[in-house]
């Protein structure tokens, strides 16, 4: 218990802020067709440290994907500011790469062209981007599939392409929006392990949206739990498991305990929501 639901939003004023993502006083409000406003969250403050793997966890409707897309510069910030490595987010930043839930591959382009797409938009020459794309295709284990079309690949392979495309542009921040939720359980397990080993080698700053408690516990340095009605940060959990982690980490007795606590927390939110 002591290790778990405790260190809410540790102030990081003493730390060097140059490599951080600073989210300060952020609000998101949607208006429905009748003009009625629905504030998903407000006054969200959060610091993502350099090299940190941070997960956003919460029930559907809590705005975890919205917050991620705000960091990505894809969704307007209604109030407050987000800075990524001292750059104010006002549209997509070159530092950030996004991995999408639905993979977002161009179906009319081959694997190598999909992986090279980010580099192409950044103006890299053909040789440069194809060389780099080949490296990344090897890294994610898709050697030999360069000239296949996405429809010819399994879901897991498609998301490897999505990951390779995101990494090809050498980002300092990786923003992942439920990247494995569309995959079957076994494939998801393999992808989680691969992401772990990749992250442990590169120490990229990762913001990872998930609705899976187990996935968040297995991968993250910190888990930020978002609530609904009212929205915003409810809790910050620090999974204490030593790295490097593998699938065996789930057998840690504390894993089960934390998992139960988080589950209770999400369930109580659902009950609150039902009563209102």
């Amino acid at each position: 218990m002591a290790t778990s639901l405790s260190d809410r939003n540790t102030p990081s004023a003493v730390e060097d802020r140059s490599g951080t993502i600073e989210i300060a006083g952020v609000r998101k409000t949607y208006y429905d067709r009748t003009g009625a406003e629905n504030t998903v969250f407000s006054d969200v403050d959060l610091t993502v440290r350099p090299g940190e793997f941070l997960s956003l966890l919460g029930p559907s409707g809590c705005g975890k994907t919205t917050l991620l897309k705000m960091i990505a510069g894809l969704t307007p910030i209604d109030e407050g500011t987000i800075t990524v490595r001292d750059k104010l987010v006002d549209g997509p930043l070159a530092e950030c790469s996004v991995v999408f839930q639905s993979f977002a591959l161009l179906p009319w382009s081959t694997v190598i062209k999909n992986v090279a797409f980010g580099l192409r938009l950044r103006g890299a020459s053909r040789n440069e981007r194809e060389g780099r794309a080949k490296e990344l295709i090897d890294l994610v284990g898709l050697t030999g599939s360069e000239n296949k079309y996405p429809a010819q690949l399994s879901g897991g392979m498609q998301q490897r392409v999505g990951l390779a495309r995101a990494l090809a542009v050498n980002p300092s921040v990786l923003l992942m929006d439920e990247p494995f939720s569309a995959l079957d359980e076994q494939t998801r397990g393999f992808m989680q392990e691969e992401l772990l080993s990749l992250w442990e080698r590169t120490k990229l700053q990762v913001v990872f949206v998930t609705h899976s408690i187990e996935e968040a516990l297995l991968l993250s340095d910190r888990i930020v739990v978002l609530g609904i009605h009212p929205g915003g940060i409810r809790e910050v959990v620090t999974p204490p498991f030593p790295r490097p982690r593998t699938r065996n980490t789930v057998r840690d007795p504390e894993f089960g305990e934390l998992s139960t606590q988080l589950w209770e927390m999400l369930r109580s939110m659902k009950e609150e929501d039902g009563s209102t």
Binding site: L74, A104, F117
Partner: protein
Amino acid sequence: MTAALVSETTTRSDRGSRRSASKAGRRGPASGSRRGSQWSWRIRKVVYPLLLLGVLLVLWQYSVSQMENRLLIPTFTEVAEAMGPTVRNGDTWHALWVSNQALLAGFVAALVLGIPAGLALGRVSVLERIFNAYIDILLVLPMAAVIPLLVAQFGLGLFTRSLVVFLFAFVMIVVNARAGIRSIDPTLIEMTRSNGGGEPQVWRHVLLPGSVPALLAGARIGLSRAITGMVVGELILIPAGVGNLIKQYSGFLDAPSLYALIALVLVESLVLIALANLLERKLLAWRRR
């Protein structure tokens, strides 16, 4: 005792062989005979449609020959006989030439104006809101009713005939282009923007390639509508081309020539649509798994 044992073994092997037989059936025959079955599949693909055509022609021939009073209904053989003279007749080719001028001009204009219009409607919601009602009107408007107005305004020349073709094809091309843009996964646009792409890159890398299937479908449907428009315009009011010749033949009660001419127009249409299909298959290779 022995009898029981024997019967048991036979039933067991029976069951085994049945199982393996059904397995083989499910998986398809081994490679040698698979080539054979592929052949027969190919032959069937050609033979069955031809068979249907044959049956229809025989039915045509038989049922019409049984009719007592048939003023404008020829038998198949009469049409086939008339085909030779019709093909050799200079009037036929002149009529086709005149009609096709309007088809070409009207259809190309419909493509050139309809594709950008549909793409813009699909992307810009303000335009969509302004023009939606007019698109619906164009869709339900009976074009035949408009032709007299066009003739009154623009006369009986090539321009009016092209305009009729244009009006028949335009809406279909617009509606399909609009649907093409709307069918594109918005995540692809987000992905492009997250990589620093602006609206021009979104169009170049996502919207245009993504709407190609719908544009081709629109062109194909638009083409068949354009051909209809070409003949209908000439039949209703404008004395020119194929429509005019059709009216002449039916005036002389020359049914075999009439149907031979219609058959020629059908052949032309089928060839054009086959070309459109071929283009579609070439451009959409990525869709095949």
